[in-house]
């Protein structure tokens, strides 16, 4: 392990971390602008031109608020909760390939992926399944009935939708034959995107992604009409900020995962022609830009849905998860398996 390798990875991690935070920050701004657009309003427009400094003002406000820890709260776990939420939101980005490897003039190949483990898809799945702990621990440690109810809802929702998500991934793995995200992306070169082979699987995956990130219409853990504020009722100051922030980072990461697994990652039609035109240093960067365009499209979709579809009732949520999505996901796995067997035979 030479020193340039360590520096390379360190810089990459720092860049990805910074980008996730900035995107999460500006997602809060985008969310309010999108909401305003959909409701025929103007949205925030006071701080800076077009209100572009609004996230900074919000962040400053969060820092300046008084820090309150309830008397009967479990002090340590109360502090661990938001930290855990942020941690699990951030570590998912480690296995996503952000672009095809850059070949420098000196002949050095720099991969734009922090690590390529051969169980990358399962790693993402594991991080997703851990993400509920931040909410559960925070909700329980607050020592508040509403927070506790919210934590319990979050846990049952997370467990229920994980099953359908796992089954939709199995169908995808039948198509790709590998769990390494790098190989999955390379397989989708040009326009051979997995969504063309697994449209139903993608639909299941995106529904589950909405549920796992606690976004509307599945935002029952923070259903204010029933639970005051949800799991973060007792939180104030930057701890509350961490919870809100973690939701936006989760949204960014799940958008990146969907773009990578189903929409070809950094691949786009005509990329070979572009490569011959601009050379091997610029072309991967264009691919990265394409990936981010896909991610932003997904983030916009998340927001569009939030301001369009009302929240589910709790029993409807469970009905959809267990009695609709899981049977469809199992049928999808079986049909995919049969089709692959027939194609291989002939």
């Amino acid at each position: 392990m030479d020193i340039s390798f360590v520096i390379e990875k360190f810089v990459l991690v720092a860049i990805i971390f910074g980008i996730s935070l900035v995107i999460a920050m500006y997602s809060t701004y985008a969310e309010r602008k999108v909401a305003a657009f959909l409701q025929d309003r103007l949205g925030p427009d006071r701080a800076g031109p077009f209100g572009i400094l609004q996230p900074l003002a919000d962040g400053l406000k969060m820092f300046m608020k008084e820090e309150i820890i309830p008397t009967h709260a479990n002090k340590w776990l109360f502090m661990v909760g938001p930290g855990l939420a942020m941690l699990t939101a951030c570590i998912g980005t480690a296995v996503i390939p952000w672009g095809s490897p850059i070949t420098t003039a000196a002949g050095r190949i720099i991969p734009l992926q922090v690590t390529d483990i051969n169980v990358g898809v399962l790693y993402i799945f594991g991080v997703v399944s851990l993400s509920v702990y931040g909410v559960m621990i925070g909700g329980w440690a607050s020592n508040n009935k509403y927070s506790l109810l919210s934590a319990i809802r979050a846990a049952s929702q997370n467990i229920s939708y994980e099953v359908a998500m796992g089954l939709s991934i199995i169908a995808l793995l039948l198509v790709t034959n590998t769990m390494s995200l790098k190989e999955i992306v390379e397989m989708q070169h040009g326009w051979h995107w997995n969504v063309l082979y697994q449209p139903l699987g993608f639909l299941l995956f995106i529904i589950c992604a909405f549920a796992e990130t606690n976004r509307a219409p599945f935002d029952l853990p923070e259903c204010e009409t029933e639970l005051i504020g949800g799991y973060h009722t007792e939180y104030s100051s930057m701890k509350l900020g961490f919870y809100l922030f973690a939701e936006y980072i989760n949204m960014f990461v799940s958008s990146a995962v969907m773009a990578t697994l189903y929409f070809g990652g950094y691949n786009y039609p005509g990329m070979d022609w572009v490569l011959t035109q601009v050379g091997p240093v610029i072309a991967p960067l264009i691919g990265t830009a394409v990936l981010f365009a896909k991610i932003f499209a997904f983030i916009f979709f998340f927001m569009w849905v939030r301001w369009t579809i009302p929240r589910f009732r709790y029993d409807q949520l469970m009905h959809l998860g267990w009695k609709v999505l899981i049977p469809i996901a199992i049928a999808n796995v079986i049909v995919t398996g049969i089709v692959i067997a027939i194609v291989e035979k002939f």
Binding site: L77, I117, N118, V119, L122, Y123, F125, G126, V128, S129, L130, V132, Y133, M136, I137, W140, L148, A151, I152, A155, S156, N158, I159, E162, M179
Partner: protein, 165 residues
């Protein structure tokens, strides 16, 4: 390097397992158990069993422990002032503990330092090889254990059903 990492992780596993038992609050116990499972995941990675590591991560840490926490939070057992156990239970506990100590000392006396573990095939833990092993030579036991799990699940569902059928 490898050995020292192993001893560090092994120490952490034992430490957190003990914390599971010694924690008074059941929710804290479950949280320590989650950390214990995480150290097991690290053990699997040290053995180059990446698939088992991730599955342990997903199934035990991500699913089973969430259900444990879920049940504990639902029952809200976080009372510090649990009624003390009666004297008889304490005596029984002491006797059982002494028996365990005697057994442990006896078994420790009989043990010798084992040969260092050599992995016969270091790549066995990778997904492709493990899958080929499971669905090749071990096909029947694998399917039988799946049926066993399915039976247990159906039984659990039946138990929770109201008397209707």
């Amino acid at each position: 390097m490898g050995t020292s990492v192993f001893y560090l992780v092994a120490f952490l596993s034992i430490f957190f397992s003990l914390m599971v038992i010694f924690a008074k609050n059941p929710v804290h116990s479950v949280l320590y158990l989650i950390v214990t499972f995480f150290t097991f995941t690290v053990h699997y990675i040290l053995l180059n069993a990446q698939f088992l590591a991730v599955v342990n991560f997903i199934v035990y840490m991500g699913a089973i422990m969430v259900l444990f926490l879920f049940v504990l939070m639902l029952l809200n057992l976080n009372k510090e002032n649990e009624p003390l156990k009666s004297g008889l239970v304490k005596v029984v506990g002491i006797v059982a503990g002494c028996c365990l100590v005697v057994t442990l000392i006896g078994s420790l006396k009989a043990t010798a330092v084992s040969d260092p573990l050599v992995l016969q095939n270091p790549n066995l833990g990778l997904v492709k090889n493990l899958g080929k092993e499971l669905f090749g030579p071990f096909m029947l036991p694998f399917e039988l254990s799946s049926i066993l799990l399915l039976t247990a699940m159906v039984g659990a569902v039946l138990l929770t059903k109201k008397e209707k059928v």
